[in-house]
Subunit: 147 residues, 2 copies
DNA sequence: TTGAAAATGAAAGTCGTTTTCATTTAGATT
DNA sequence: AATCTAAATGAAAACGACTTTCATTTTCAA
């Protein structure tokens, strides 16, 4: 990794090492705050902006990308081999993934129809995850708005 | 419209009338700032927060919904009969729509596989619109990064 | 006409993100 | 090993879109 960064003109530092390592160990879709908390456990002196900058750097060198779900918080998603969509639970804010191979063809085709050159796509489904679904079912014994 | 709002416990005011009318006259995907600018032409005394609050109100009563593309700016999309996806031009930031009927089935099915109950979905394709595509083609006479 | 609830405009507050700046550090070059 | 320059760091401030507060005004049902 040090070499990889060097060839791109970046230096390795203890902080960076720690941040990178933590990021790649963690589950996907982490926020700056979450990563900050995690690295602070290992090194109390690391600053928020350093974590933020390194997350940006990870994106810049192509190892992650920002994900925006519209809740105002940027998440960082490791760039994986397989394109995927997101299932965002409205209730607990948890983010799951789902495969999208079947969709890619259709999307490209759709975009193509409009003389639009796609570079990237995002598919997000908002709803309730299995867990919250059950909990909500319990909450609404006296159904609020239908049948 | 006045009646419609009254039944929901909201009052009509000259400012609200103007804001609603402007919103529904305008093209889709407007931002608060854009609508603010537009109504200010007709009434210099309208405040930003009034425009913002009314845009929220339009959403609350189900006539529009917020769209978040990840550029940090909330757009307001009239609720239309037909579900659609967005084509977001990376270059000029213009937003086009495309139909998604074919996709809906697939998405529901995919989500279903994970015991996830979908409420809403967003499909966004980022890329270059026809116009920017041509312009970029001109810009990159000396191809920067491939073959 | 009147009174309570809703709406308004200006200003301040919030909060995630980004930049600034003084200082330290990495690592290439002597 | 010492030196030097660009990069990196941490703290704090700045930024900007969004949201709330508050004093005042307006709507509209009674």
């Amino acid at each position: 990794m040090k070499e990889f960064l060097r060839t791109k003109g970046f230096k390795m530092t203890p902080q960076r090492e720690l941040i990178f390592r933590s990021f790649f160990e963690l589950e996907e879709h982490i926020t700056v705050d979450e990563l900050y908390d995690k690295v602070r456990i290992l090194d109390r002196s690391i600053g928020y902006s350093t974590v933020w900058r390194n997350l940006k750097l990870i994106c810049k060198v192509g190892l992650a990308e920002e994900v925006n779900l519209g809740d105002g918080i940027t998440r960082y998603d490791r760039v994986t081999k397989v394109p995927h969509g997101h299932l965002f639970c409205i209730s607990c804010k948890k983010l799951e993934e789902f495969p999208v191979e079947q969709l890619v063809g259709l999307l490209a085709q759709t975009a193509g129809d409009k003389s639009f050159t796609p570079e990237n796509f995002k598919i997000e489904i908002q709803g309730f995850c299995e867990k919250c679904q059950k909990e909500n079912a319990n909450d609404s014994k006296n159904g609020e708005d239908d049948v």
